[in-house]
């Protein structure tokens, strides 16, 4: 079966900054069934050739899975004609992963933190919270349809 994912890995320097060694780019259809494969692909290429800890691998997997789920379900509303773009820049000391959907965007400052006791039994609303807890830096673009997550290699 042909994979619906489009992968591009550039291992030559991707910018004038000498610390940037690799750029990974994956385009994924708006299908939650593709999330696991995309996470696996992105993680493999982000950690290739490095002595990554299990903890870094886990943080990267969960953060990318969350961002993809948000992009597919909230951003693109699972519309078949839309896709999600994952772009990773790999530095010696950190990994930067950007996930962009084709939705109208949202205001991340208006997403409530699910940390009140009465929210304990809520069945949703923990995705962005987990991302913020698992990665070192989170930024959104102005439109709110692109999240950039930075994880330090340590």
């Amino acid at each position: 079966m042909t994979s619906p994912l489009q992968l591009c890995v550039r291992r030559t320097p991707a910018s004038p900054a000498p610390a940037v060694a690799t750029r990974v780019r994956v385009r994924m259809p708006s299908d939650i069934a593709c999330i696991e494969q995309t996470v696996s692909l992105v993680t493999r290429h982000c950690l290739a050739g490095t002595a990554a800890t299990d903890r870094l691998r886990f943080r990267l997997q969960v953060a990318v899975a969350e961002a993809l789920a948000n992009a597919v379900m909230q951003g693109n509303q699972e519309m078949p004609g839309k896709s999600v773009l994952v772009e990773a820049e790999l530095f010696l000391d950190r990994i930067c992963v950007q996930v962009t959907d084709e939705g109208i965007g949202f205001d991340p400052t208006r997403v409530p933190e699910p940390d009140r006791p009465e929210q304990l039994t809520d069945t949703c609303g923990r995705g962005l919270f987990l991302i913020r807890k698992l990665v070192d830096e989170v930024h959104f673009n102005e439109q709110g349809n692109s999240i950039c997550m930075t994880l330090r290699r340590r």
Binding site: I35, E36, V62
Partner: protein, 111 residues
């Protein structure tokens, strides 16, 4: 990723999560335990010893299942969480919602 269901001698339905528990397969787990509930089962153990990672949808599915099992007078326990998986429950405070054992044997011992 797959779910393997067995039943121990004490009548506890044991579900082993192999691979991930994420948005793409959470409904499968809910359907599996829902069917067991419909057949009268009330004691459940979900074991994560062979699980890679869980996303927030997977956590949400566990919360949903826990609520449904409790409403029917049953109990849902978890086991086999490694340090990384356990951290997800601690970050979200869900470690206070579930009975979590280190191993399935410990979870089943006093079920």
């Amino acid at each position: 990723m797959a779910f393997h269901q067995t039943k121990d001698a004490g009548g506890v339905v044991v579900v082993r999560v192999e691979g991930q528990l994420i948005v793409g397969n959470r409904q499968e787990l809910k359907d599996l335990i829902g069917a067991a509930l419909d057949h009268g089962e009330r004691k459940f153990l979900i074991d994560f010893a062979r699980t890679g990672y869980i996303d927030s949808s997977g956590l949400g599915a566990l919360v949903s299942l826990s609520k449904r099992v409790r409403e029917l007078g049953g109990e849902l326990r978890l086991s086999g969480l490694n340090e990384d998986l356990r951290s997800l429950f601690e970050l979200t405070k869900l470690d206070t919602l579930f009975a979590i054992a280190d191993t399935p044997e410990q979870a089943l011992a006093n079920f």
